[in-house]
């Protein structure tokens, strides 16, 4: 059987030809050498400690795992993380290449299949890739460089101190003799990995690629010619195409179906029931009826003709209008206290003025342009049942484990090849669609490509939560904010894992609620009870969206109530430069710092202040503006990164919103690829606009009322900000790297709505803006 991609396991300790290894065809030249040998002890010589070791698989920094050099000098570097648009598939190998002194024009990147034992953690989520992997990848490159130098020194019979690796060759300093990496490949890769504490990392001043932003993404050419392979493009010869009719309400199930008419549709070959797991079941399939056909178009036509009877179950009464009222009632009363500094209740009573506001952010769908899709073949091989999957997944390791469970075969018999992802945003951290394809392949004994139509995607998402945030701020007679009470009410992601979970989990509370950095003596955070009636999941930047929207809008409301400049009020609330440690605040339980040690990544108000000042200064805060124009500012720390945004808006007499310019300052510590940081922030502004202006999923009778881009609006080029300026705070290696993919998003909506207020005097408290600006 031939697959489009082939995967060959490297025998441990042995030399293997990897010419056909790994995912992307044609990426590895012939005759490449790699050996599996000792894995470095970890953790190795940490510059800073991270939570990487606690992730499944931890980190691996061994060049025997990650680097192959063939005799021609072609270097292949494996990337273990999934590419969904952040550029990580380029950035991580670039780190290795830089440290090993490889010439990037002679480097190829290959994608690791799911195998966390071998490659370390592969869950591309939580804006963790660079922050957890920059150091292991530097060590990996440095080890490879040391091995190449050792091989050359041995060849020449000279001391290793007398040779130096430089730009794809090793030079003997005394004689000027040189050996190319290709000539040294075999000898170097036969050496054991040097001990971690012997490695010498490069002086950052000598980086060729890191920090320069000069390297385009490796897939750029293929993307522009249509050759780049996404999950939806993967092929296994003989594959059939499937679409699935799924229960319209979460927790519902199939009662019966009649496939007679569907089977008469030209091109339809089979109709098969898909096994269901009862809700909540993490990422297991919800079941339904699959129509299998010669092409996706025929399968869709066939599905239209299915007659299905569903039992909609207890969530059939989920109604967004009623649910909002219920959440607002919850927020109007005392809730569970999750942080309690000083005496906010008392201070609110004694305050000269109390500013109260309530904010609403609806459910959102991920709507990655590539919908969920996978190609899977389950077949009988020499070692029993085998499963080969090609999937656009953010988490090939977890996906592989569950494929093995669902098929009841050893995990070694499962290969998950990671294609490019046509967007992910957290949706593709859940692998239900891969499991569906596997079940169908097993049932039909054929390779199956499952495609979710856009309707499937939007009607059956793991939605961003829906939330009501209420903030009461007390101001004393001098205009100083002395009390702050923030109540957050939202269904929790935990409800997707555990029945009855009805309070936000520590990881949600830690995203902008209990980590509030403001210098307010009486600061109380509460969390209201809230049951989920649909599947809730991670959406890019998660709970930071509603929390930051409320907190940063409230700053603007306080400024307005006091008749003061919003930036001045914001800086005053941030207070003096200091570390805010929520673990020391009363009633904060299991404070979650994005899974990383607080000592490495404390909450530094000085960094919040700095990005605020940079964004304001770059945007020309205070400059004269035309009538109907305004600037708005917001700052937020998320994923351990500090981001401030100033939006410049113009609202015309018809209430049409324009965004002539956005300035965003980001402090993400030591960074690898500033050019991709810029593109992530540009994209965050667009996604921020999408959710602020258009985005909503509402439920009626348990079903989402939107099903495609007509109902679930996203920003288009004619309403998007097209002048987003990104200001990256320079940082040396001693400032730990932090997240990039997500932290750009949370400050955008509040900056925008603060700007709209400045322009029009209209305060937006309920998203999306939709037609609220129309007269």
């Amino acid at each position: 059987m031939t697959h489009m991609f082939e995967t060959i396991a490297i025998p441990p300790g042995g030399v293997a030809n990897v010419s056909r290894r790994f995912v992307m065809r044609g990426i590895v030249g012939s005759g490449a050498l790699v050996i599996g040998a000792s894995v470095l002890p970890r953790p190795a010589m940490s510059a800073w400690s991270t939570g990487a070791g606690k992730m499944p698989g931890g980190t691996i920094n061994d060049p025997h795992v990650y680097v192959a050099i063939d005799p021609s000098g072609l270097v292949t570097i494996i990337t273990n993380r999934s590419e969904m648009g952040t550029g990580v598939r380029t950035s991580l190998p670039m780190i290795v290449a830089d440290e090993m002194e490889a010439d990037w024009s002679r480097v190829r990147v290959a994608q690791a299949p799911g195998d966390e034992k071998k490659y370390g953690n592969q869950d591309t989520d939580g804006s963790r890739s660079v922050r957890h992997w920059v150091e292991p990848m530097r060590q990996c490159g440095a080890a490879m460089r040391a091995m190449l130098e050792q091989a050359a020194a041995t060849r020449w019979g000279v001391a290793v101190a007398d040779v130096r690796a430089e730009n794809h060759k090793v030079i003997h300093l005394g004689s000027g003799n040189m050996l190319g990496y290709g000539e040294l490949a075999k000898a170097a890769s036969a050496l054991p990995t040097p001990p971690a504490d012997s490695l010498k990392l490069k002086d950052p001043r000598t980086f060729r690629y890191i920090g320069t932003g000069s390297i385009p993404i490796v897939d750029l050419h293929d993307i522009t010619t249509g050759k780049a392979t996404y999950g939806i493009d993967a092929k296994i010869p003989g594959m059939k195409f499937a679409v699935i009719a799924r229960p319209p309400v979460v927790g519902g199930k199939l009662v019966s179906f009649d496939a007679t008419e569907a089977l008469k549709v030209p091109g339809v070959e089979r109709v098969v029931e898909v096994r269901a797991w009862p809700w909540p079941s993490k990422f297991m399939p919800v079941g339904g009826v699959a129509v299998i056909a010669r092409n996706t178009g025929c399968a869709i036509n066939g599905r239209d003709k299915l007659k299905v009877v569903w039992d909609n179950g207890p969530n059939a009464s989920y109604d967004s209008v009623a649910f909002r009222r219920q959440m607002e009632q919850t927020a109007a009363n005392a809730c569970k206290v999750v942080r309690n500094d000083g005496d906010a209740e008392g201070a609110l009573k004694s305050a000269a003025k109390v500013v109260t506001a309530q904010y609403y952010v609806p459910h959102l769908a991920h709507a990655s342009m590539e919908p969920p899709t996978a190609v899977v073949h389950v077949f009988q091989g020499k070692a029993g049942t085998q499963c080969v999957a090609y999937a656009p997944t953010q988490s090939p390791g977890g996906c592989r484990d569950d494929l093995a469970k669902v098929l009841d075969i050893p995990v070694e018999n499962v290969t998950v090849n990671v294609t490019l992802l046509g967007g992910g945003f957290g949706r593709k951290s859940k692998w239900d669609y891969v499991l569906e394809a596997a079940l169908l392949s097993k049932a039909t004994a054929a390779p199956i490509k499952v495609v979710w139509t856009r309707e499937d995607d939007i009607l059956h998402d793991f939605y961003h939560t829906v939330s009501v945030e209420r903030i009461d701020a007390g101001v004393d007679a001098n205009g100083k904010v002395i009390a702050w009470r923030h109540r957050s009410v939202a269904p929790t992601i935990k409800s997707t894992f555990q029945a009855g979970a009805d309070y936000e989990a520590p990881f949600e509370l830690g995203m902008g609620l209990v980590d509030n950095p403001f210098n307010i003596p009486n600061l109380r955070c509460e969390n209201g009870r809230c049951e989920a009636h649909t599947r809730i999941g991670w959406f890019r930047s998660v709970s930071n969206i509603p929390h930051a929207f409320a907190v940063q809008s409230m700053v603007g409301e306080i400024a307005a109530a006091l008749g003061r400049d919003p930036k001045d009020v914001l800086l005053e609330l941030l207070g003096p430069d200091r570390i805010v440690d929520p673990r020391k605040s009363p009633d904060v339980a299991d404070y979650w710092n994005y899974g990383d040690p607080f000592e490495t990544y404390p909450i530094e108000t000085g960094r919040l202040r700095r990005v605020t000042e940079i964004a304001a200064e770059q945007a020309g805060w205070g400059k004269p503006l035309q009538k109907g124009e305004g600037l708005g500012i917001a700052v937020h720390r998320s994923f351990l990164t500090y981001v401030a945004t100033v939006a410049h808006v113009a609202v015309d007499d018809n209430g049409t919103l324009h965004i002539p310019r956005v300035d965003t300052a980001i402090d993400c510590g030591f960074h690898v690829n500033p050019e991709r940081i810029r593109s992530q922030i540009e994209g965050a502004a667009v996604m921020g606009l999408s959710l602020a202006k258009h985005g909503k999923i509402t439920f009626k009778d348990g079903r989402a009322e939107q099903s495609n881009f007509d109902g679930f609006g996203v920003a288009r080029i004619d309403d998007a900000p097209l002048d987003v300026r990104v200001h990256i705070v320079p940082a040396d290696w001693d400032v730990p790297s932090s997240g990039v993919g997500e932290p750009g998003l949370p400050p955008f909506a509040p900056a925008l709505c603060n700007a709209i207020f400045a322009a029009t005097g209209k305060r937006i408290r309920s998203l999306p803006i939709a037609d609220q600006l129309k007269a």
Binding site: I217, T224, T225, G226, E370, T453, R454, F709, V714, A715
Partner: protein, 150 residues
């Protein structure tokens, strides 16, 4: 049975001709550069050229495309060096890249009809193409660049 003329080559398709051209191009002909995004003419991911005009292949039955000259992203330029493709690379426009085949085909059709588009021409022509990653700033820049010579 229809004969589809795609990128200068004839392909026979013996299946149901009411299905959208998109699925035949992708699933039957194996030309997967053209993408699925919405199936409703709302996103532009599936854009191809039909007799030189940009069309949404998800909105066109195979039967309507028979005999016409269809160009997909794979056939836009033999070496991928159409000015639009070069401009896309020059500006590093893509993030995930998924929408870009459609974006490039749309931009190429715009420039074929209007070689020197104004900014508002660009926004109008490209407004049917969604990029969920939000590459619009660079897309606008790339189209401008392609129109002024890369």
């Amino acid at each position: 049975m229809v004969t589809l003329k795609v990128n200068g080559q004839d392909h026979a398709y013996d299946g149901d001709t009411t299905v959208p051209l998109l699925w035949v191009i992708r699933d039957e002909l194996g030309l997967t550069g053209t993408k699925f995004g919405c199936g409703k003419g709302l996103c532009g991911s599936c854009t191809v050229h039909l007799d030189g005009v940009a069309v949404r292949s998800c909105q066109m039955a195979v039967s309507e495309a028979g005999g016409k000259a269809i160009v997909t992203i794979e056939g836009l330029d033999p070496d991928g060096n159409h000015p639009v493709q070069r401009a896309w690379r020059e500006t590093s426009a893509p993030q995930c890249g998924y929408c870009h085949a459609g974006q490039i085909m749309q931009a190429a059709a715009l420039l074929a009809a209007t070689p020197k588009p104004s900014d508002s021409d660009i926004l109008t022509a490209m407004a049917g193409n969604i990029c969920r990653c939000g590459c619009y700033q660079r897309i606008a820049e790339a189209v401008r660049l392609a129109s002024t010579g890369v």
